[in-house]
Subunit: 124 residues, 2 copies
């Protein structure tokens, strides 16, 4: 870290500009990275996909569908809720989870691309 790149082709102005630019977008990148790492888990991505298909599901349903324990599911849902990607509504003893559509600008294209990828592979 003390020594920096001194190669002949290094473009000092370019590097400086990159530093400025990355500082500028850093907060946005941090927030997007958070959303991506949330959905970068196989179980949570499945939950998001299922919610995009079914509009709402409870932890119990998801436990059945994904073949996992209820606490395991609940902990994933907690992360998704805290990350603002899903919302929950309690109806009696049951808690229904659904996508938090307003916060899904990062995730939506991914779910879309999933559908597209599936269509492609179904066709071929």
């Amino acid at each position: 870290m003390t020594k920096s790149c001194i190669r002949v082709f290094a473009d000092v102005a370019q590097i400086k500009q990159c530093k400025t630019e990355i500082d500028r977008v850093a907060p946005t990148i941090a927030s997007i990275a958070r959303a991506l790492s949330l959905s970068g888990n196989e179980v949570r991505l499945k939950i998001l996909y299922l919610l995009s298909k079914e509009s709402q599901l409870c932890p119990c349903d998801l436990s059945d569908i994904l073949g996992m324990t209820v606490p395991a599911i609940s902990q994933h849902l907690k992360k998704l809720r805290e990350g603002g990607l899903v919302v929950s509504e309690k109806v009696g003893q049951t808690v229904f989870y659904s996508l938090h559509k307003e916060n899904l600008n990062v995730i939506n294209p991914i779910l879309d691309s999933l559908v597209i990828t599936e269509q492609k592979s179904t066709v071929s």
Copy 2:
């Protein structure tokens, strides 16, 4: 796991259908989740963003720009390369990294959304 959801409103047919559907898309989800978890790291997302702006950068540049040690950067680049998100080309002692555009269908919308988000926040 042994006991399944027995609530009154549970829709057995819906659950069964979801199971079938999730099994069908599981391989695609796994591969997308891998790409998302790769780009769900702040440093790696910054690298991808910088490469989308600069077309090619070496580990040394990135170390300078991001204020991190070269080995730390190198290890991130290795993951991105193994995940197929970037490619490298050696020129003399320098290794230039650039985006592997063909494999970026999952990541591209994210980088785009980053630009869009930045424009929004700049305007407001």
